[in-house]
């Protein structure tokens, strides 16, 4: 009789079968879709980043000289620095809002793989802030008198490089969660690490213009992009976990 | 002696370099001393706080 009672007790307190935790792709898609939806609601904020980018590129001819030869030589570098600075602007919104209202903590505790959730967020972030820069680069290129083929190289380089910038920014943004220092600290952390991307990104256009071809630069950028997508999620997830200890 | 200090005309550059190194080391050693003093002071304050908290208990335990 005791055994029956015990068995009944066991049945009543047996755990309900849990659904399997979300897989990597599902988590990624969910996080990406959510962040894109949130981004759509703050379209004006994103537009500001693009405007900032064009504003910075316009400042250089004003500050230096409108000499077409000089501008064409500096074009790639200016566009890349402007893209770098514009990407810094958008970084705060990657984790800040979710951190403030506790959603990020829920993501850390959730059964879904944090690295996948983070990857989804960064992908959405790049689509919202990086991709517009890539698409508007031709405009900046025209401002500086770059030829159509050079602009093509610039666009490809930016398409490969801006995700790397997003990942470097994501790591820095995660590390500075809950830290004082704001955007200048973020810039200090990101910019030195971004130097290789800057060198190979801007260098690709210059190399192409010099007749040496951009393949070497672009392949290095590709390698960087792959490394960023492979290593970025795990490192960023670790940084997010550290911020919630 | 003065010839040696002159460093064949390059005295300014040589001594600016070595001088800056000496200055940097001096600043670092001074900063170390200050750090040690501040750390010790902080530890003292904490210990005084802890003693102040423990004292009432010791009295009641008689």
């Amino acid at each position: 009789m005791q055994r029956d009672a015990l068995a009944a007790l066991a049945r009543r307190t047996a755990p309900v079968t849990q659904p399997a935790p979300p897989g990597v792709i599902a988590a990624l898609r969910w996080a990406c879709a959510r962040d894109l939806r949130l981004a759509l609601r703050s379209r004006s904020e994103l537009a500001l980043i693009v405007v900032f980018f064009l504003l910075v590129t316009s400042l250089f001819p004003l500050a230096v000289s409108p000499d077409p030869e000089l501008l064409r030589a500096m074009a790639a570098g200016i566009v890349w620095v402007a893209a770098l600075l514009a990407s810094l602007l958008g970084l705060a919104r990657l984790f800040a809002a979710d951190h403030a209202d506790g959603t990020l903590e829920q993501m850390v505790l959730a059964p879904a793989p944090l690295a996948a959730l983070v990857a989804g967020k960064v992908l959405a972030h790049w689509i919202a802030t990086g991709l517009p820069l890539v698409l508007l680069a031709p405009l900046a290129g025209l401002q500086f008198g770059l030829g159509a083929d050079a602009i093509g190289v610039l666009v490809v380089a930016l398409a490969l490089g801006t995700p790397v910038l997003s990942w470097l920014g994501a790591i820095a943004a995660a590390l500075t969660l809950g830290a004082r220092g704001g955007s200048s600290l973020l810039a200090l952390l990101v910019l030195p690490l971004a130097v290789p991307v800057l060198i190979f990104g801007a260098g690709s256009v210059e190399s192409y213009a010099a007749g040496l071809g951009a393949e070497a630069h672009l392949s290095l950028l590709t390698a960087g992009a792959i490394a960023a997508w492979v290593l970025g999620p795990a490192v960023t997830a670790l940084a997010v976990k550290i911020a919630h200890e | 002696m003065l010839d040696w200090l002159h460093m064949g005309g390059y005295g300014f550059y040589v001594w600016s370099s070595y001088g800056m190194l000496a200055l940097a080391i001096a600043i670092e050693l001074q900063a170390l001393r200050r750090h040690r003093r501040a750390a010790r002071r902080r530890a003292e304050e904490l210990r005084a706080e802890q003693a102040a908290h423990a004292a009432p208990l010791r009295e009641t335990n008689g």
């Binding site: 590390l175 220092g181 030195p192 130097v195 490192v235 | 390059y10 040589v14 370099s17 170390l32 210990r47």
Partner: protein, 264 residues
């Protein structure tokens, strides 16, 4: 357990490392002074004058050790950060924290002496040479590490966040050096390479090596002193600190409290 492992575990706690560090500081400090004296003597009075650069080349005796130390200290910092992140140890993180300011100092000295070597030799204080530019970025990496640490209030969280940053930086350093080298060689016409150092006579090399070891022992002594202050700062609340004497009476060499304080 091997003797090495036993040694490691024994000194992994701040409490037991504190007196050991205190005993080691004078050893390394003395070594640093002796090696520096020897190196400077050889560098200035034994080594000949470079026929190409004149006496200005003597700056190289501190420029090269400084540049090398800046690089080496960052790697050691990253190593201790990796240990701290993997094994959740406090002392290794404190060690990384203690090394950073000195590493930054070496990077700054490398840049300063590089500029003052460049002016008489190449005509300009700054020539965007690959190695100097990489050292400049390395200085920014140090400053970023120190800034991140300073901006996080919780010491354990600061340890882990800054530790991860140091690791990310360390992995990036070769990439940065490579990319800057690439950038430099592509613009061969505009820049000059400062790595084309004067052909080194053996005495010059000896002087430089002696000063490199001097810089190394100096860094160890300074880092040990700084880590002791960090230990005092951070372990102040825990019990073993109260067994150390108050500042008026420094602890005995083996870390035991002088009689009187033991009554606590």
């Amino acid at each position: 357990m091997t003797t090495f492992a036993r040694f490691w575990y024994r000194y992994a706690s701040p409490a037991s490392f504190y007196p050991l560090a205190g005993r080691l500081i004078p050893v390394f400090a003395t070594l640093a002074v002796l090696l520096a004296a020897a190196g400077l003597y050889v560098g200035f009075f034994v080594a000949p004058t470079d026929w190409q650069q004149g006496e200005a080349y003597r700056i190289i005796y501190i420029h090269v050790p400084a540049a090398w130390m800046a690089m080496f200290v960052y790697l050691v910092m990253a190593f201790w950060s990796a240990i701290s992140l993997s094994f959740h140890t406090r002392l290794s993180a404190m060690m990384a924290q203690a090394l950073a300011p000195t590493g930054a100092m070496w990077a700054f000295i490398a840049l300063w002496t590089g500029a003052f070597w460049g002016r008489p030799t190449w005509g300009a204080y700054w020539v965007w040479d690959a190695r100097l530019t990489s050292t400049l970025i390395l200085l920014f990496l140090y400053l970023g590490y120190m800034a991140l640490r300073a901006s996080i209030d919780d010491p354990r969280r600061a340890d882990r966040a800054a530790g991860l940053l140091a690791l990310v930086g360390a992995i990036n350093v070769p990439i940065i050096y490579f990319s800057v080298q690439w950038w430099n060689t592509l613009h061969q016409g505009a820049t000059i390479s400062m790595t084309a150092a004067p052909k080194m006579a053996e005495t010059m090399l000896t002087g430089m090596l002696l000063l490199t070891f001097a810089a190394w022992t100096y860094t160890i002594a300074v880092a040990l002193h700084r880590v002791r202050s960090i230990i005092v700062e951070r372990e102040a609340a825990s019990g073993w600190m109260s067994r150390l004497a108050s500042p008026e009476r420094p602890p005995a060499a083996d870390g035991s409290a002088p009689s009187g304080a033991a009554a606590r």
